[in-house]
């Protein structure tokens, strides 16, 4: 009897494990992907801002030198 119960519990556990991603858990995963993508995008924006800032400073230095 105990063995049948253990087999049932194990079956339910494994079934729950493999079906969970197909029954909604993906939302959490998708959220994580969105967060990742947002973080990546933020990094790109930061990088672009940094490049713009660097170019602005170089141009200012060039103007200073010309003067």
């Amino acid at each position: 009897m105990l063995e049948v119960l253990a087999a049932f519990v194990l079956l339910v556990l494994v079934a729950w494990m493999v079906l969970q991603p197909l029954l909604g858990r993906t939302d959490r995963h998708a959220d994580a992907e969105v967060v990742d993508a947002a973080a990546d995008a933020e990094e790109v924006v930061d990088l672009e801002a940094m490049i713009a800032e660097r170019r602005r400073r170089m141009a200012a230095t060039d103007r200073e030198v010309e003067r």
Partner: protein
């Protein structure tokens, strides 16, 4: 309980089939949820196989002899450690152990690579899951360890006396872990071919997998050699037994891969060859399993012939066909358009090393399979013994020693004759000196041994100089602390200095074997208690003979006292002859005293209890200690190269041509 065990096997099979199917659908459709479900399938299989393994161990611990496997491999007198190790003592249990470790390895691989290698992962999961399907089905349908006997004997047959050794606790698990680890590089290689992502991504992904598997398989082989040395009582550590050979084959191809993968990373070379080596290494691990379980080879390791062998043969054929087909399909994309390798450069040496290792693998493969093929085709029994393998091994050893000494002093891409001469001066001088010393001490009786020792000196000098340069460069920052400077070089460039340690270990191992095979001696002495005999430079005194009888075991233990010249004590040696009540053949525990110069190895052959007299075989094995130290150092080098250091390090693949001396690297 056994029925529950069978259920867990079937559940694991279902979960791995699910993983293979949803992984394939996920790869084809690009749906992440399906891939996630496939990964969960692998986890489900791991949970089921963990429970299955727990059930089998419980059956052993509760002495449930109604289960055939438990009755065949244990009895009531078996100690706890061997009762647990009986899990992998026979074919059925060892296949379950294999499936369980494969599931754990697959889950670990998917967890570690899920973020960095998303494109490859679906196919990796499919390959791992399919392999798991095969092994789980094999256990469930051909080698079920939960089969009942139909009656319950009062006691089991017991574990074979030869397996009641510490080796049984560690050698099989280490070997299996090594074998199974090579499944992950195989899965990534197939994934690269299927997805067309043929750049260095898969090479980076599998670097540590190959290294750790290489270390574990090497550890398994070394532990097996030590086990044979201390248990079998023939004084050897390597018998060229077919199953020993097949464990060496994937280890050699993995070693070849570790050398050529560097070429792909740094020069974009040998991309096809690296894929071939990754696939071949896996195929050879399955070949090893096949040989043990098919009844094809007569071996001390072999299990009884079973249908499992045919399944495994099918896997090998499938792997070869799949690998070849995918490679042919992707060949146009893998064409190498860069400048060819040539000249006295590091690249050339790596290619030559690779050729030597692969030819050696082919020779051992052929020598191992030849008797079985001859038997199958011509019906004749042919034996390929140690002389063939020794003849093949000698030139390989010489070539490797030359490469160890030469390759590290060569730079990448370019060669300068002046620089080369300067860098080689010291190693060549040391090599010549070692050769002269060997000839003088040996009286020119064994010229080939002198050549091996001379080349070992050459290689050793290059490696030590390499380490010295590294320590010196690092020590400039810590001028007073030599030990931190020495230890500090390894995390700074684990590949380079890990590789140096591996090469150092191999050289020590070669020196140990060369000294042993040339100068070992074997004597027989019959002594009464209190009598002494001269053995080489030692005096051996038979001090005591002890008899012990229990309900399950009878043993005779001889204690011998060893003295160096001048009567200085060199310790005691105990050797035992014993018989288990439920076994027919008495066995011997060898007595070994390891000294720096040699091992004194004593086997108790015959005993006359009434006369207190015994006959001993006494073998002197010079240099054997160096063999074990070299083997240990070799594995340590692998660990150094594979270790995930927390600190910053320059192992990201940038060549360091500025270093005064550079070594061949383990990636």
């Amino acid at each position: 309980m056994p029925e529950f065990g069978t259920f867990t096997l079937l559940l694991a099979l279902a979960a791995s089939v699910w993983a293979a199917v949803t992984g394939t659908l996920g790869h084809r459709s690009g749906r992440r949820d399906l891939v996630e479900s496939a990964a969960a399938g692998l986890r489900g299989a791991l949970v089921s196989l963990t429970v299955a393994s727990g059930v089998l161990v419980t059956l052993f611990l509760t002495r449930d002899f109604s289960v055939r496997y438990v009755a065949e491999y244990s009895d009531r007198s078996l100690e706890l450690s061997y009762t647990i190790a009986a899990f992998w003592a026979g074919q059925n249990g060892s296949l379950l152990f294999w499936a369980w470790v494969l599931a754990a390895t697959s889950v670990l691989a998917v967890t570690l690579h899920r973020d960095r290698h998303r494109e490859l992962l679906p196919v990796v999961i499919v390959v791992l899951a399919t392999t798991l399907v095969v092994f789980t089905a094999l256990v469930a349908f051909t080698s079920n360890p939960f089969q009942r006997l139909g009656f319950t004997p009062s006691d089991g047959a017991g574990l074979n006396a030869m397996l009641r050794n510490w080796g049984q606790l560690y050698h099989p698990p280490a070997t299996f872990l090594g074998y199974i680890g090579f499944t992950v590089p195989f899965a990534f290689a197939i994934a690269a071919l299927v997805t067309g992502r043929l750049d260095d991504e898969w090479i980076h992904a599998v670097r540590r997998w190959v290294l750790w598997s290489w270390v574990l398989l090497g550890l398994g082989i070394l532990l097996g050699a030590r086990w044979a040395y201390t248990e079998l009582g023939w004084g050897g550590y390597w018998a060229w037994d077919p199953v020993e050979n097949v464990s060496l084959l994937p280890w050699l191809t993995a070693t070849a891969y570790l050398h050529t993968a560097v070429l792909q990373e740094r020069r974009g070379k040998l991309r096809v060859w690296n894929l071939v080596l990754a696939i071949t290494t896996f195929a050879l691990t399955v070949f090893g399993t096949f040989l043990v379980r098919s009844g094809v080879a007569a071996s001390v390791h072999a299990f009884a012939e079973s249908p499992a062998g045919l399944w495994l043969l099918g896997v090998i054929v499938a792997v070869v066909l799949l690998g070849t087909g995918l490679l042919v399909w992707r060949l146009p994309e893998l064409k190498d358009r860069s400048a060819p390798i040539g000249g006295w450069t590091r690249e050339t040496m790596l290619v030559v090393t690779n050729a030597v290792l692969v030819l050696y693998t082919l020779a051992i493969f052929w020598g191992t399979l030849f008797p079985a093929l001859t038997n199958a085709i011509q019906g004749r029994d042919v034996t390929v013994g140690a002389p063939f393998f020794d003849r093949v091994t000698l030139p390989v050893t010489l070539a490797l020693l030359v490469l160890f000494g030469l390759a590290p002093v060569l730079a990448w891409r370019r060669a300068s004759a002046a620089g080369l001469t300067r860098r080689l001066a010291v190693p060549v001088a040391v090599g010549l000196l070692a050769g002269v010393v060997a000839v003088v001490l040996d009286g020119a009786a064994n010229p080939m041994t002198s050549v091996v020792l001379s080349l070992s000196g050459f290689a050793l000098a290059t490696i030590v100089l390499e380490l010295h340069h590294g320590v010196h460069a690092h020590g400039l920052r810590h001028p007073k602390d030599h030990l931190p400077a020495f230890l500090g070089v390894f995390p700074r460039n684990p590949r380079r200095y890990g590789g140096a340690l591996v090469h150092l270990g191999v050289v020590l191992l070669i020196v140990g074997v060369a000294l042993d095979v040339t100068y070992r001696s074997d004597e027989r002495h019959t002594l009464t208690v209190g009598e002494s005999a001269e053995v080489g430079r030692y005096t051996l005194t038979f001090a005591d003979l002890d008899t012990a009888v229990t309900a399950t075991r009878m043993s005779l233990t001889a204690t011998l006292e060893l003295a160096r010249p001048g009567g200085r004590d060199a310790g005691t040696i105990e050797t035992e002859r014993y018989l288990y009540a439920n076994q027919e053949q008495p066995r011997t525990h060898v007595g070994v005293r390891s000294l720096v110069r040699e091992d004194v190895y004593v086997i108790l052959e015959e005993v006359d209890i009434d006369a207190q007299r015994a006959t001993f075989s006494v073998l002197l094995h010079p240099g054997v200690l160096w063999l074990w130290l070299g083997g240990g150092l070799l594995l340590l080098g692998g660990v150094v190269a594979a270790w995930p250091y927390a600190m910053r390090r320059d192992d990201a693949g940038e060549p360091d041509d500025r270093a005064p001396v550079t070594t061949g690297e383990v990636r």
